[in-house]
């Protein structure tokens, strides 16, 4: 309660205290510019975090649920082995559904490389079986062992082998985005502390006079804290606006189909950037308050 009151005291407007401390043009501009630039960067870091987070979740969900069985066998044995494999799969715990792809589906898979109208029936193309897992999943090692015994031509591809590093990369990118936001906050705090210290040094005589006529530290600090908090808020609001517009205007490259289209905000996530100016103001508040009270304590 006491702390809350002090917080309020520090932010409450006092035009007289504001007048006592003369405005210092360059620290004001420095703070607005820094907060703006940092907020702009923070929007991208935030977009990166959210997008890679979504990507990692989606990939993880997809690959946790599907896998493929490939059956290579001489032409005469292919159907028999496919039948055998499907029987094995039907009795495998954790497999919700197993389905042999039709010739049309297989042709569609090959079309990007061989073009349409590939006479697939006359080629020694392996048969693919799509496996959909239930929530618990199956044991790949156990399944492989059973298949080896009953369907010698079967190869189980459980996707993890090639997709796991991608999920890890996406998770890492999300972490990098979060670390970037942290670094941006720290850099902002450092810059604002420097600017606040410059303002305090430039006003050493003003502070001295205010102390001499009976001003408490908190009163003097308030004039600086209010100013820097407001400047950071305004700068960060402008920077956030610019950054959000830039993300909105990113070209929609749907053809690329992957990562790039994902960079941006979706749905309610568009509200997240609103947090940035508030955080910037909070950072400025704490940084300036620390700087001001420290400087005041060091003076007579």
């Amino acid at each position: 309660m006491q702390r809350l009151r002090r917080l309020f005291d520090l932010l409450a407007g006092d035009p007289q205290a504001e007048r006592a401390v003369p405005p210092t043009g360059f620290t004001a501009r420095l703070t607005v510019l820094t907060a703006g630039a940092m907020a702009f960067l923070a929007v991208f870091a935030m977009a990166l975090s959210l997008a890679t987070g979504r990507l990692a979740d989606r990939w993880a969900a997809e690959l946790a649920q599907t896998s493929t069985l490939r059956i290579s066998a001489p032409q005469g044995q292919l159907d028999a082995q496919t039948e055998a494999a499907l029987r094995v799969l039907q009795t495998t715990p954790g497999v919700a559904e197993a389905r042999a792809l039709s010739a049309d589906e297989q042709r569609a898979l090959l079309a990007p490389w061989f073009g349409p109208d590939l006479p697939i029936e006359s080629l020694p193309v392996p048969q693919l079986i799509e496996i959909i897992e239930d929530a618990d999943g199956y044991d790949p090692a156990g399944l492989r062992a059973r298949l080896q015994a009953e369907v010698p031509g079967a190869v189980l591809d459980d996707h993890t082998r090639w997709r796991e590093p991608l999920i890890e990369a996406a998770g890492r990118l999300r972490l990098l985005g979060l670390v970037s936001m942290g670094l941006i906050a720290v850099a902002t705090a450092a810059m604002i502390t420097l600017a606040a210290n410059a303002a305090l040094a430039a006003n050493a005589q003003v502070i001295r006079v205010m102390r001499l006529v009976g001003a408490k530290d908190i009163y003097i600090a308030r004039a600086f804290v209010r100013r820097f908090t407001l400047r950071a808020l305004i700068g960060a609001a402008l920077g956030t606006l610019a950054g959000t517009l830039a993300v909105m205007l990113l070209p929609r490259t749907d053809a690329a189909g992957g990562f790039l289209t994902g960079l941006g905000f979706q749905g309610l996530h568009w509200l997240w950037p609103l947090v940035i100016p508030i955080l910037a103001a909070l950072v400025a508040f704490v940084a300036t308050r620390q700087a001001a009270l420290k400087t005041l304590r060091e003076q007579s």
Binding site: D14, Q16, A17, R19, A20, P22, V206, R208, V209, M210, R211, L212, V213, G214, A215, K216, D217, Y219, I220, L296, R297, S300
Partner: protein
């Protein structure tokens, strides 16, 4: 009000004074004289908590000055009006706002009527909107005195209030300080100007202290 017990002040360059006793009783009037550089300003700074004695005890309204935290020092200064040797104004604010500054920083409203009366009392009505650097020496000293008394303090400490001011203006400033003492305020004036002390003689019963040879002496008979 303000009591010094066996007080000493030393700094890097050595000891300025020691074994100093002084008691400013309510309603008393003191002059503090002595050659330049003997520590008159330093002694005043001990009395409003800007410096801390290196030995002995300074009591401000009964409190040990050494034990006061920063907020308590601020509150104590609101009860002591100081006319600083170098005035200490905020040059970017008009004279009237400088005079009202102690009220402002205490979060108290400056009553326009009171402020106008005070400006009239020190004869600065016309200069209210000017900036301190535009004032003459005597005007600055009177503005400093107005600021020192705006909180209606119990004690007024004036450090060379008549420095670089012509004799006629000195008389006017002295008259204001004597008037404040008649209103019951405790007054201490540090000055090396002996003519000022002689001029005060007919109007007030004052005690004259002399700081010399690192000690505080009672300068002959009280005036």
């Amino acid at each position: 009000m303000i009591e010094l017990d066996n007080v000493a002040y030393s700094y890097g360059g050595g000891e300025l004074f020691s074994g100093l006793d002084l008691s400013l009783a309510p309603g008393s009037f003191h002059f503090l004289t002595g050659p330049s550089g003997t520590g008159k300003t330093t002694l005043l700074k001990l009395c409003y908590g800007e410096l801390i004695a290196t030995a002995g005890q300074v009591r401000l309204f009964g409190e040990d000055a050494r034990a006061l935290d920063r907020d308590a020092v601020a509150l104590t200064r609101r009860r002591i009006g100081v006319v600083h040797q170098d005035c200490q104004f905020l040059d970017h604010l008009p004279v009237a706002e400088n005079i009202a500054l102690p009220l402002t920083v205490a979060g108290l409203p400056a009553m326009p009527d009171d402020l106008r009366d005070l400006l009239g009392w020190v004869g600065l009505t016309r200069q209210a909107a000017q900036r301190p650097p535009e004032l003459s020496g005597g005007e600055r000293q009177r503005a400093a005195l107005a600021r020192a008394v705006i909180m209606s303090p119990e004690v007024i400490l004036a450090d060379e209030p008549t420095g670089n001011v012509d004799p006629e203006m000195s008389q006017r400033l002295l008259a204001l300080l004597v008037e404040l003492n008649k209103m019951g305020k405790t007054v201490l004036i540090a000055t090396h100007d002996m003519s000022l002390i002689r001029a005060a003689k007919p109007h007030v019963s004052a005690r004259v202290l002399r700081l010399a040879d690192r000690k505080l002496h009672l300068a002959g008979a009280d005036l």
